[in-house]
Symmetry: C2
Subunit: 159 residues, 2 copies
């Protein structure tokens, strides 16, 4: 695990990035989520990531509870399976994908479309307001930092 | 810029991670988005990031069009301002925050709540289906890879 990379940060995004903020992390999870990869060799062949890095990332994900490792009785290759905790990073991957589609689009167009299983409709990430129900543009989302965060980080004074 | 970190990947999420996938990247943007930071010294004091890394990240963001640098006439400190391209990473930051709130929550509770400006309602990330309009759980989102991607990457054969 990365562990305490962003120790001074009292921030849930920082906690997430301590688990998935290293090179290749989110792309490995993407392949587990959408390409159905479970084996070291599948990840390695698809991503062309250095084997020592892949070994490290898979071990970190198992330790962090994002992947569960299964080893067949009598030996053989281990396989890696997403837990609910790992699967729950899907919205983050979709949000990054939408950014790339909008701002760094391949000349041939969108490489991947996300679909609602069963229904077949296209899935998009919406910032949805619990009060008015509207999909909210990014510029209209603001953050309220809880007082205990300011107290703990700055001794009560906003820096 | 990281540039071609994930060159073999034909993937919009990989393109996004080439821009924001380094240590501290998303936390610097978070501070620009939600704490209103614009100055080197503000980012540095809040994040306690090594100055050489902060310098590099800010330069990469300016080069990548996520931040715009302004230098006052007659000299003085530069300030950094989010562009639309930079602001558009807000959904990714919210998605990571929600993951951290759910799976790595601080003992004192949620540090930050995201609110709809004006309305005041809480904002949540929803994977919304364009066909049926439903908020879709992560497990029910699947990916359709376009044929040209498989052709370009594998010469037509899925690995």
């Amino acid at each position: 695990m990365l562990g305490k990379m962003y120790e001074a940060e009292i921030c849930s995004a920082a906690r997430a990035l301590e688990v998935v903020g290293e090179r290749w992390s989110l792309l490995i999870l993407r392949n587990a989520m959408f390409a159905g990869h479970t084996r070291f060799s599948e990840f390695q062949r698809s991503l062309k990531v250095a084997p020592n890095i892949l070994t490290k990332r898979l071990a970190e994900f198992v330790e962090g509870g994002l992947l569960e490792v299964r080893t067949p009785d009598g030996g053989g290759h281990a396989s890696y399976h997403l837990t609910e905790r790992g699967l729950d990073l899907k919205p983050a991957i979709l949000a990054l994908t939408e950014w790339g589609d909008r701002w760094a689009l391949d000349p041939e167009g969108r490489p991947v479309t996300y679909l609602h299983r069963g229904c077949g409709g296209e899935i998009a990430v919406k910032l949805t307001c619990a009060e008015c129900g509207q999909a909210t543009p990014p510029a209209d989302v603001e953050a309220r930092v809880e007082p205990w965060v300011i107290e703990r980080k700055y001794g009560g004074q906003l820096a």
